[in-house]
Subunit: 371 residues, 2 copies
């Protein structure tokens, strides 16, 4: 017997109109190694917003109520339409991750029936989702779907940062936009694993958030002594790797230069090329869409480049990924706990005023969709 | 019996004075696996100039003739002294590479006696140089030291670029400042090995230099259609790797953006993160010492970073390095041939007017030191 599911979709027309809608989909019964989840909770991550809204101007949001279900529309400024060129005319599913209850299971997956599980395969802003049993991870008894909603993107990103650190031979790291939900999680994880992290924040309020959870190295980029403090913290921790959520502007390059200064102060190089120790910055976000600048004071053993969770998971492979997900499931109410400031329904997720609220992505605010 | 050798040395005092001198050194007899070379020819590479002159102001060059041998001095501008901090007060040898005749050999290296060999272990602006036999590579019969002088830096850099390309899974490459001695050699090598290279130059004159040696993809960065031509050439060759001698400014980032544009045009991505194919720029020179800028239009699978021949040779190891050097020796008068515009003695290398001429590093000009 098939199940009917309402699913949130996002489309940008070739003319540059964003159209958000709820569509009815039939979910066929699961195959032998498949399950059907009733989705109970799915967070709104920055990466979800990027797909949901694209480059549309949220000031132009309005609701079109022609006939059936309402459709929310907005205008994409003409000069930004090319940025969406690859998706024009395609109706896209949304929702990178979420948690729910297994309500149907194929012959090989009966043991999952009734369990609360996490999913990270996308298309989670929907009422029901069919997935291969290997792609869902059950939580320990007693974990609720709300507690388990964010068991993929942020936890695996934090774990992925540490696994990158180990794979590439570094022993400590720098993190920017460090008071974010992800940044807090990274600190809890690093404390648990005995890894030192230098947190770069932009305000005293953000410093305080990190102090509370036990972070020790915190530098404020608005402080006049920022460069010296950053170099000192890098020297103390020996960090030669950074993950940067800002992306544009001078921050990534400043971090590389501070690493080089810390290394050269410890071991003066015997040539004109600076320290031979490799320094790496990975840009994993684009809070700032301006150019990334790197000064010439970084020596010759340096790199800056993009880092994306799916690319990292491809690099480590499905078995290693599964192990990381199982650790997240075990520690979902401790190391990897997330907090939400608001819960909304699928229908509310399409309302212009609600959209304008959740797309601000303010530090400390996080939304949960309850389909 | 020991040999007396005149050797060029460069010192920057803690007060910021550059001092160039010729010093007499005693060369002890070679050990069982060592040889002594009479150095006949050593080129002046940009990397040699960096050590020879440091950040000194060549307008202030003068000769001090107190007592013994003349000493050439120059002033390092005070704000640039910190750039030389690691070498202050140290007398440095110069001359990355050169060729000469083996005039003494230990018991295990007799087969090299009388042979013309290449050396790349530094300290070659000297009359005699003692080295482990493993570190010199003999040329085929008939090759002169002048022909063999540049068998290390440029040939191994060109070969190192191709070995980096293969190690990191790319199949074609982009090269900037492409009409340089190295750039010409890279083209000859790529033609020999069947690898496509996109040459970025700054003038019609440089285009002509490369056409003569058979280069097919040449784009001029001063042309108004530069971006489109670069993207077209990258698309045609499938290049996802670039070696950039300029370092500062927008060029490296433009190349990454052109690679991304070429990839996205071929395979439209199905998400907001652009092409998943990794694009890499290696900065191996700093003709421009301004900041390196990278635009946000490079997707998420990208990297830019430093590349230095010694780091690459460490990566591939001594056996693989030796194989590359043996290929260079075999092809030193064809693929890896260098041309020089002037020959100077060690004494002339210290004369202010001669220094000002060879430090211009103009395209097509190259100096050979004949100790």
């Amino acid at each position: 017997m098939s199940t009917t599911s309402l699913e949130l979709r996002s489309l940008i027309t070739p003319e540059g109109e964003l159209r958000l809608s709820l569509e009815e989909r039939e979910i066929a019964p699961p195959g032998p190694d498949e399950v059907v989840i009733r989705v109970e909770a799915a967070p709104i991550n920055p990466a979800d917003l990027a797909v949901l809204l694209g480059p549309a101007d949220v000031a132009t949001l309005s609701v079109e109520a022609t006939g059936g279900r309402p459709v929310t529309t907005a205008t994409v400024p003409p000069h930004l339409v090319p940025r969406a060129s690859a998706r024009l005319g395609k109706s896209l599913p949304i929702g990178l991750e979420g948690a729910g209850v297994v309500v149907e299971a194929g012959a090989g997956a009966r043991h999952l029936l009734g369990k609360v599980v996490s999913a990270g395969a996308g298309r989670m802003y929907t009422q029901y989702r069919k997935l291969p049993a290997f792609d869902v991870v059950p939580f320990p008894e007693g974990v609720t779907p709300q507690e388990g909603a964010s068991a993929y993107v942020n936890p695996l990103t934090a774990l992925g940062m540490l696994s990158t650190m180990r794979l590439e031979g570094h022993s400590a790291l720098v993190h920017t936009a460090a008071a974010s939900n992800l940044g807090q999680m990274l600190n809890k994880l690093c404390i648990a694993d005995g890894v030192e992290v230098v947190n770069v924040v932009r305000s005293a309020e953000q410093e305080a958030i990190l102090r509370v959870i036990g972070a020790t190295h915190i530098v404020n980029s608005t402080h006049p002594d920022f460069r010296d403090q950053l170099t000192a913290a890098i020297s103390e921790t020996g960090a030669t790797l950074a993950f940067d959520a800002v992306g544009g502007g001078p921050l990534g390059g400043l971090i590389l230069a501070a690493m080089e200064a810390a290394l050269v102060a410890k071991v003066p190089p015997n040539g004109p090329y600076g320290s031979p120790v490799h320094k790496q910055v990975y840009v994993y976000g684009r809070l700032d869409r301006s150019e990334t600048t790197t000064p010439p004071t970084v020596g010759m053993a340096w790199g800056i480049g993009g880092w994306l969770l799916p690319y990292h998971l491809t690099r480590i492979g499905p078995e290693e990924t599964r192990k990381l997900r199982e650790r997240v499931a075990r520690e979902i109410t401790t190391t990897f706990a997330s907090a939400y400031t608001s819960e909304i329904s699928l229908a509310e997720a399409l309302q212009p005023d609600v959209i304008r609220r959740y797309r601000r992505m303010a530090t400390g605010e996080k939304y949960l969709v309850r389909p």
